[in-house]
Amino acid sequence: MTGPVLTHLGKTKLELGPTEDIAPAQNWRAATDGDRIAWLTLDVAGSSTNTVSEAVIRELVDHVERLERERPKAVVIRSAKLSGFAAGADISGFADMAESGAADLLRQGHGILDRIARLECPTIAVVHGAALGAGFELALACDRRILIDGGSFGFPEVQLGLHPGLGGTFRLPALIDPLEAMTLMLTGKTAHTRKARKLGIADTVTEERHVAAAVRAFASGDAPDRDTGVKARALALKPARQIAARKMRGETAKSAAPDHYPAPYALIDLWEEHGGNPEAMQTAEIESFAKLLETDTARNLVRVFFLRQSLREAAQGESGITRVHVIGAGEMGADIAAWTAIKGKTVTLGDVDTAQLGAALRRAHKTCKGAHLTSAETRDAIDRLMPDPSGYGIARADLVIEAGPEDPGVKEKIYSDLADRMKEGAILSTNTSSLRLAALAKVAPDAGRFAGLHFFNPVPKMQLVEVVSHPDTAQDVSDRLAAFCGEIGRLPASVADAPGFLVNRALTPYLMEAMTLMDEGVSKEDIDRAALRFGMPMGPVTLADQVGLDICLHVADSLAADLDAPMAEVPGWLRQKVDSGNTGKKAGKGFYDWSDGAPDIGDGDADPELIDRLILPMLDACVECLRAGVARDDDQIDGAMIFATGFAPFRGGPMHYSKTRGPGEIGDRLASLAARQGKRFEPDRGWSDLE
């Protein structure tokens, strides 16, 4: 909490040297100070975040030409944006780039970064916040990097189906331990301040208030020494690289199949072949990047980037919610409460069972650890999360999130207890996944201020939250809930109050088909492998165990009861399994034995027929949701399914996949499956609208 004095003093101002009062020509501010230190400050027009676009590179040419003539004492490159150094390349330009021959453009970019690298004077990048992708590459073209505490470097390209394309693939391995460099590029992980310093990406770490002094020292040659290690020299030899590359391929294959995600493999090939030779690597990087840019994977992953942005846009505005009361300290309630507290809200977690509250606190500590919070951040988050057996928090809460048992009677009792205790104007939301909101709204204290806020398991990982409105939900209530999702770092998808809403409606036929297949004698491992082969992050049987078989059963039952469309029959043995307490991961045993961690499903190929039997029912349900207006549009469905279930991102989402594969072909497949397997495969009539 910032007090009035610090609020008055405002945020720390960025040290911009002589460019402080210079208006940017377009995207850059440039000036040289009295000590002949030339500053180039990136200040991209019309945006609060710097991205490295074609225009940014083109303008840089003029500035570098001038610096080559003027021969200043030193050159400083930094960002004028509070948000950070630069978020990377301008992704919206990727599609055009792929069309118009990326290689030429890349060569142009490489040319200018090479000229910066060749400047005779010391070149210094001052990095605050994140320097990602092309931003990182710009910093790498400088001799030295001064990192402001809290800043970070990263190459997230691999998440877009690409690898670094502006020299990162050879400049980073030349700067630091090549294996560490490859790991950063292959995983897309960010090196935060301490790691960046340890790896040697940053030459020094300081505070914003010391930037001027640090720049003066570096400009006068007073910078810490660098050393290139033994490892780098060893890996200059190809046989050594071959051994390392084999290991990298093995590691990569654990999370990304080569035909689904070619980029990391292309990067490993590149390094294995040319790792000792920067010039050759540069040429090869350009070719490889241009080729990857044209793959479906890259196009679809770029699409996913924009799907996320569009979901995030719906989360704009301020929720006005600072205090949250969560009812029910089961797994979901506990995780929702912990996550909300971590993200800065003041949270009370109500449950009459104090042992359950204790367990929730233990989970919260684990979640803080998983989220890499410092000990002070953990202390603050846990202080903001008050176990509340007496329900004191209800009276102060701006938002109450009910995460009680999926029993209408229990919920009705909870709601009636809230009626006189909630404050004026507070919102009541439910995390129900299987009950209809319209029915619950009748027993809610105020139907207009009642909506669904449906989180996915595990809450700290799954980014999507369904914001479910019923006909009486006030517009400002769903808007505020969407904004609330944004404030706690989640992506809201506003959906209608239909059975299973969107995500569970689509996911349940897939899960139930897996049960039917097991009934037919197909092994659970074969089923899970088929889904993995398609590109799902885990198979349906593993997923069912993870979500909890009791919850799956509940959702399946209520969907079967509420839906007109026929569903796969819920097998009797599933019910027995739940009754016997083998409810999945949380119980240590479900379909798989979880006592020794995640199950091993082995590897091997999968039957395409099996893949279709699992995936097509999910696609069909998505088409139905679009036709029935449960979701807003194709993109929302794709975004929701990717961020709630991990639906194969490189396929661009279920709707995109359907359209790419051909709605006619899928419709025919469904019809033939229906003939053999039963009515549950009958294609929804919405398929014809897609053609």
Binding site: G3, A359, L361, R362, I382, M386, P387, D388, P389, K423
Partner: protein, 428 residues
């Protein structure tokens, strides 16, 4: 007393957790946060309603200098809320209330959170002075040879730490341990081992009854540790305590003939307590229902070797000033540092010459019936987190008065070093 009326609006404490030979799950500030959160949560006050926070704490740990301020910020109070920590040894938790009371009475403040906290299980192990000097020398050693030379001065005894708590419970002037001061009183006032043990048994039984009856609900709020542990009640209580079991215990402070045992002394415990004090204006503005009104307070000092008589010396002037005789006080809370010490206070009040010569009364103050004294147990069954106990007895007195419909009550404690503090409450 002149000045504005001051109300004790509400309060909450953690369960008192017996120290079990290793640091407990909570630091002093953790404890203050654990019970402060529910207290603040049940009073939806505007953010700036609380003018000041005062916290008593004797054993401050190195990571939490001025624990009051650390607690205020961790409780989410605005950055501009002033908070300070007070220390008068065992009286700290009451001194915070008394200071708040005087500030509000005099008109400079309207609402103050006053508490006490102590984590005796976190008392540091202290190095001997010789060892500290040796370490300092080692740090200044220049080069390997010098360092090696210095190493040979290392003595095994340096590694044997002194338990800080033991030192803290020893009066530095008389070099008597607190338990020894109780032995002195037992001797002076003729308190037998049996009397002391009988008192202790009753303390346990009373606390056990209060727990079973739910009389501590709201006063004690559960504390949750990072391992998922839930601490929901005072865990030092022994409901099945009896004379036979206590008789088996050996004296701990003056072996082998002494009378003070671990069984008839207060327990070493962690715990925190808060009280919310408000002026009449604040009570009205925020629509609060006070528990009690603070009517008077006083402090007194005497020879450190008989510190246990502090209650007699501090409470009697209040009674005199307010024209109250022994029979006018409906309920008493006298902190149970030691059974022999409480019984000595009662004996002193019942001793005509003591009352005349020392207290300046015309006659004996009179007997204090056991059914008006520490009705729900005390530090012998609950434990005595030194900086907290004074706060707890005031809060519990207010709650017990409300439950019994009592009109007047006094909470009072003895203070290591030879002092006493007392506070008079009246029904609101």
């Amino acid at each position: 007393m002149t000045g504005r009326p001051v109300y004790l609006v509400d309060g909450a404490r953690t369960p008192f957790l017996k120290a079990r030979g290793k640091p407990g799950p909570f630091t002093p500030v953790d404890l203050a946060v654990q019970c402060g959160r529910p207290l603040l949560a049940r009073h939806p006050l505007p953010e700036t309603a609380i003018d000041l926070m005062i916290l008593g704490c004797v054993n401050v740990i190195a990571d939490e200098m001025n624990p009051a301020r650390v607690a205020a910020l961790r409780l989410g109070l605005p950055t501009q809320t002033v908070a300070f920590t007070m220390q008068i040894n065992c009286g700290s938790g009451m001194q915070s209330i008394d200071t708040a009371y005087r500030y509000i009475r005099d008109g400079s403040h309207d609402m103050i959170l006053a508490g006490g906290t102590e984590a005796l299980s976190h008392s540091p192990l202290v190095l001997r002075d010789e060892a500290v000097e040796w370490y300092a020398g080692l740090a200044q050693a220049k080069g390997a040879v010098d360092m090696a030379k210095h190493m040979k001065d290392l003595r095994p005894g340096f590694l044997k730490p002194v338990i800080g708590l033991e030192r803290g419970l020893t009066d530095p002037i008389t070099e008597l341990n607190m338990g020894q001061t109780a032995e002195v009183l037992a001797h002076r006032f003729g308190i037998s081992r049996e009397d002391a043990d009988a008192y202790a048994v009753e303390s346990h039984h009373r606390l056990a009854r209060a727990q079973t009856e739910g009389w501590l609900a709201g006063e004690v709020e559960p504390a949750f540790d990072s391992d998922g542990g839930v601490h929901d009640s005072d865990d030092g209580v022994r409901p099945d305590s009896d004379m036979d079991a206590l008789a088996k215990l050996k004296p701990v402070f003056e072996k082998p003939y002494g009378k003070v045992t671990a069984g008839n002394a207060s327990q070493i415990t962690d715990g925190a307590s808060w009280t919310l004090l408000a002026s009449e204006a604040a009570v009205e503005e925020h629509g609060l229902t006070p528990l009690a009104r603070i009517a008077d307070s006083d402090w007194a000092a005497l020879d450190p070797s008989i510190m246990g008589l502090g209650p007699v010396l501090s409470a009697t002037p209040i009674a005199k000033r307010n024209g109250l005789g022994g029979a006018d006080i409906d309920l008493w809370e006298i902190n149970e540092a030691f059974a022999a010490q409480v019984l000595s206070c009662l004996a002193a009040w019942d001793d005509e010459s003591f009352c005349r010569d020392v207290l300046g009364l015309d006659a004996a103050f009179g007997q204090i019936d056991r059914d008006r004294l520490n009705v729900d147990g005390g530090a012998i069954s609950l434990g005595h987190p030194v900086g907290t106990s004074g706060n707890r007895i005031v809060l519990h007195l207010a709650n017990a008065m409300k439950r019994q419909g009592a009109r007047r009550g006094i909470a009072t404690e003895c203070i290591g070093g030879g002092q006493g503090g007392a506070m008079l409450l009246e029904a609101a």
